[in-house]
Structures are given as C-alpha cells and as structure tokens.
Symmetry: C2
C-alpha cells in the first residue's frame, strides 16, 4: 500500500482516502463518490479496528462482507482497497497511541472509554500508510470528525479532512452498519433518534434558548419507544463539544440511544440566530 | 518550513533532520556532520519544548544562545535552521499527544512523568513539518531514542532513525547542554557517572551475571561524591528497557544522577557473552 501510494504521489496525483470498517452502505458510498469526484486516485480502507472497541462491545459480532464490499468499491470507482490484517496493523510490541484530549472526553468518549484513542491512532496510521491528500468522513460520526480534525491540526498533518452529510433511510434513520443488528420491531422504533432531532429543530426554529427544554423534549420522544434507552442527549458547542449553557446561533444536538442491544448515534447541526427568524 | 522541505523532497532530495533544544555542543555537531554526510539537505531544529519539562523542572533556566547556535550550524553545513516559537508549535486549543507506553514508563519516565509524551509529540510534529528521510539522535538519551524508534515503528512513519555515539569530554563526562549548570566543584564530581559505567563494564568483562552486583558497585562510585545523589541506577534490556533479572549477552547500564541541582544521565551498552570471554 505504501509503495502504491508513494508512487502515485510522486507522479503528482492526489489521493482521496475513505477509511471504513466495511459492511458498506449508502453513507460509505457517498464518501467514495465525493472522493472520486475530487481526486485522481481513490483508496478505500476496510479495517474493523480492535483498538476502538471496548471489552464488552461488538468487535466479534461486527458485520463483515468483504466480497460484497469489494464489488461496491469497484462500482463506486475506487482504485485500491486496503484491507490490512489486525496483526499487520498492531504488531506484538505495539504500544503507541494518539490521545486527542478535550474533544474526546464528552459524549461517546464518556460511554466508550478509549474509543477515540483507538480511532485517532488507526486513522493516523492509515494516513501514514496511504499518504492521502484528502480523507472523507461522514457527519453522522460528528465527534469522530472533530477528533480527527483536531489531530490533523495539532500534529501538523498534510491531510484535508472532508466531512460529508449523513445519508438517511427514507424514514430518517441514519445509515449505519450497526442497523443490521436491529430486529424489525427495533428497526421501527429506531426512527426515534431522527424524530428527536426533528423536535429539537422545531424548538431552534421557534427561538428557544434553554438547552434543558430541548433535552426534555428529545428525551420525551425517545422514551415513547419501549425498547429505547438513551445513553446521552446533549446540546453542545459544535467545535469544543462542551455542553451549552444557552442556545445561540450555532449548536449541535447529539444523542446516543440503545435500541435493544444496539447502540445508535445521530446528530444535527443548527445554524442561524435562534429567535431571530 | 513545510514549503521548503516539500519542495526539496519533490525535487527528489533526501533530508536529514537533527532535532535539538539548542545551546549546541560537540554532541549535536557530530549529529549534524553525520546528517551532512548522509543527506542532500540538512535541517537542524532548535526548540526548547515546553511539553517535555515537568512543572518543577528547568524550562525557564534552560540555556539558550541562538546567535552562537546559528554560527555552529552554518559551520557544520546545515542548510536550514528551524526555530519555531512555542505558540506556533502549540496553539491555544492544542490537545493532541502521542503516548509510547511501555518504553516510556521506567527510568526517566518514572522520575519525569509526561516527559516522553512531550518528546514523542514534538518529534512527530517536527517529522510532519520537516518531512525528513532520516533523523539523528544521540545515544546519550538512550530511552528517548527507544521511544522515538518505537513511535516510528508503531505509527508507520517513513523516517529512518539514526543513533549516533555519545560524545564525551576528555575525562569521560557525556556532553550535555545541562553541563553548563555545573559549578567547577560539581563539574569535577560529575565524572562519577562515566566512571560508574566503567566499573559496570569491568564487571561485564569478568562475566558477572548478577544485576545487583553491578548496581551496588555503580552506587558505590556515585556515593563517593559529596554532591551526587542517584535518581536511578539500572541494568535493563536494551529494547524493552525492563530491569534484567540476569545479565546475558546484551545489557544496558543506565543511570541518572543529581550533581547538586543538576540532573545528568548516561548509559553504556554491553554486548558479547558475559563470562564467555
């Protein structure tokens, strides 16, 4: 992979990287299409990264389908698929980790200790191997995006981080490989994340400034579903991810909800002066 | 700096980087000469890195002399001196650190918590800015060298890490910018580090296998000096830096000693089967 990418870069080509954990859905494909449009070469990596899973999380059951993924990558115009083995990425003496401190701490960082350390570390390694000019990430994983942006800034990396809009099912559920865990009953209930964000959007549109009001309204929607249990529901600053004391002209509504055993996340960015419509 | 180095690399030139904290001595110059010999372009960085100093350490008093350093760099054939300001290296929101876990823990890692985190982070940043093909480090800072080697391996960096032998004063004292802190009385006593390592070398030559014997002999030598107080004295594995239970064919004798208020370090690598001479 290093040889391939260095040869391409030496020829003056730019490279777009789409890092994934595979089991590709329309969200991933939208990243690939964007990368295809903006670069001479496109690399998709497929790696279910063990260091970003907690001990009691779903590493062993995470869905995999490399054959189908390869076909989808080819159809999306990807030039090279990088599928390293876990032993290639993490040798027996591996011991080096990247910590992005503040933006990794709240939200998913609280529920999943070590998760963003694993994400930052593997993404830096992918950057060093694939040598991309740009890398593409979905806005659904908003905190991940902020962690990577912060790492790129702080470590002086020469990679353009591109965020792409969340792709959704017709009813609004954000696309995720983990949606495949849902039973049909759970799948119906899973729309509550999107609908809770919609309710927050209406409050923002009405000029509501009190974060507590948003959170109560969103919780109310989640609690209507018998198999839904919220992990967190927050209104945060879009850059620092710190809880807002008052909603002003920019805010991010963000939530993580368990539907049965499946943990789903979603978010929505609100911009424009609340109450000045 | 980024533009300069990327232009040179694009022209196919290799770049040797000598990272320093300035106040250059013969040890630094030997790194520059080696880099000059092996590369088309040589960059020396001068940066007293705040993140590798502890709260009660000598950041504010660390010796600086940029004028003299510039002349020395020029005489050593350095093409570019990179002297970033602390605010350029660490912006107000800076929050990303590299942790090299195991090899950072013992020895200086114990006495100076956070020190190697600061070293690894700044060296990675320097690598990302200067884009060197090779980087040159002195063997006096053996643990630092192991931290950097491990980081380069674990993060898939394309930098050749070159270690260069410790340069010593005529009496054996390892060159260090911190030697300038020593009073003439302390300077005389400071030779005890080198002499303690010499005693360890004689034990190794005699086939001694018991680490305790080495440590006792080395401590004995340090304790002879009225102003010397050892921080650690150890016999460790040259790669893992773990304490040895038995001395075999490779071992590193390593020590840190305070002479008055000045903390000095030194080490010596022993190779060849002890007791099979």
């Amino acid at each position: 992979m290093k040889e391939w990418s260095r040869t391409r870069r030496a020829e003056g080509h730019n490279i777009g990287l789409v890092p994934t954990m595979g089991y590709l859905h329309e969200g991933h494909l939208s990243l690939m299409h964007r990368a295809r449009f903006e670069n001479q070469r496109v690399v998709a990596s497929i790696f279910v990264n063990p260091t970003q899973f907690g001990r009691n999380e779903d590493l062993s059951t995470y869905p995999r389908d490399l054959v189908s993924d390869s076909i989808k990558c080819r159809q999306a115009g990807v030039d090279a698929i990088f599928v390293p083995g876990a032993d290639d990425v993490y040798g027996p003496q591996f011991q080096t980790y990247v910590e992005v401190e503040q933006v990794s701490s709240p939200l998913c960082g609280k529920s999943r200790p070590g998760h963003f350390r694993g994400v930052a570390t593997v993404v830096l390694k992918l950057f060093n191997v694939v040598c991309p000019t740009s890398a593409y990430f979905g806005a659904k994983d908003y905190q991940q995006l902020q962690v990577i942006r912060t790492m790129v800034r702080d470590l002086d990396l020469d990679v353009n981080v591109v965020d792409c809009p969340t792709v959704r099912e017709p009813d609004g559920l954000a696309m995720s490989s983990r949606n495949s865990y849902l039973s049909s009953r759970e799948r119906e209930q899973a729309v509550c994340l999107y609908q809770a964000l919609h309710i927050a959007g209406e409050l923002f549109g009405s000029g509501e400034k009190e974060p507590r009001k948003y959170i109560t309204a969103m919780s109310g929607r989640i609690d209507k579903e018998p198999d839904a249990k919220s992990d967190y529901i927050s209104l945060v600053h879009p850059e620092t991810l710190e809880d807002l004391k008052q909603v002003d002209d920019r805010c991010l509504a963000v939530l993580a909800v368990r539907i049965g055993k499946t943990r789903l996340i979603d978010n929505r960015l609100f911009q424009g002066r609340a109450g000045h419509a």
